[in-house]
Amino acid sequence: MMQRLECLRAVYDRLEGCLVVTIMGAVACELQSLGHKPNFFYLQHAMGLGSSTGLGLALCMPQQKVVVFDGDGSILMNLGGYTTLARYRPRNLVHVVFDNESLLSVGGFPTATSTGSDLEGVARASGIACTKTVKTMEDFTHAFDDALGTNDLTSIVAKVEAVGPKGYVTELSLLENRFQFKRYIEKSTTETRRHGEEKK
């Protein structure tokens, strides 16, 4: 079965130039283990709001690609968020749910996806046009590349094994991450603007 860490590793290079929002727990920890970048923001609580944060970013910066790495436990707390994503259909947003059918970080309690709830089905029925469920590394990488390349909101459900790191606290402080992320955006928008002026 596919592992989340391997999925992140496979697409890590593609994240350059994207704004990346992750949820708490294993996703945040594993992405940091591959190398933290100033364009990564880890929402280390507020379960369910990763996708909403991505939506706010994507709507305010329509020229900027935004990637959200979500999880089944988190998105199950904000299924209504799928309907809001679908309603505004930000074409620059890629939404990935790592579905390990488990609340892993609190001891591995099974979520409702373990008993048949289908998150891609929820996404599609909410009105998201581009959805996909993937179970192999090859399919995941293709789906992610397609999503980045296409000009439409995409929701990918990646079925992964319920394994994660030993601990979840990392060296990076929450506020340091938050201020660095905002500064990165400020700097990149200023540079884009300057570049645009030069072109004129």
Binding site: F41, G48, G56, L59, C60, G81, T84, L174
Partner: protein, 172 residues
């Protein structure tokens, strides 16, 4: 409908003057005109929510993107947003400007609003969220501007309670 169109306009213009570029909202009776104004304004990004807590994430995203935002919600929407307010806005020091319609207070006829009315201010105090009232149209602009100034200075959520006096024109 006895929701004050004039005072809704005063509130909306005050938000515009503060440079608000994104409004998240969940419809509620007192907010109908404000929502329509946001919808008709090509300069405003309006995000209609399924649940108010989403607005915390959307406002945080907007803040990171350098866009000033406001959340429009009923006090029951505030109650529904508390985890997001605490574990995102307060934890990560996001300046949230929340405009909350203060239902269930004196003059309220809808029985279902009354319990939430009683809980609103005690909860704002418990969370350490400074709040003020929008009750006089002459003071709306200044009060919204001052609340926003404080939110950005402190990087913390702030609440303005839209009162019956301001929003409702029907005699009690």
């Amino acid at each position: 409908m006895p929701v004050s169109l004039n005072n809704s306009e005063v509130v909306y213009q005050a938000l515009k003057k503060c440079g608000i570029g994104l409004v998240s909202a969940l419809p509620e009776t007192w907010l109908v005109h404000l929502l329509r104004m946001a919808e008709d304004d090509p300069q405003m990004i309006l995000v209609r929510l399924a649940k108010e807590e989403e607005g915390v994430g959307i406002s945080a995203g907007a803040h990171f993107a350098g866009v000033k935002s406001a959340m429009l919600m009923q006090n029951h929407g505030f109650l529904a947003s508390i985890n997001g307010i605490v574990s995102f806005a307060q934890l990560y020091r996001i300046p949230l400007l929340m405009l909350i319609s203060y239902r269930g207070h004196f003059g309220e006829r809808d029985p279902w609003q009354t319990q939430g009315g009683g809980a609103t201010e005690p909860l704002l105090r418990a969370l350490g969220i400074p709040y003020s009232f929008l009750d006089d149209p002459a003071k709306v602009e200044k009060r919204i501007a001052e609340a926003q100034t404080w939110a950005y200075a402190s990087l913390h959520p702030v609440a303005l309670l839209l009162t019956r006096e301001l929003m409702w024109e029907e005699p009690a």
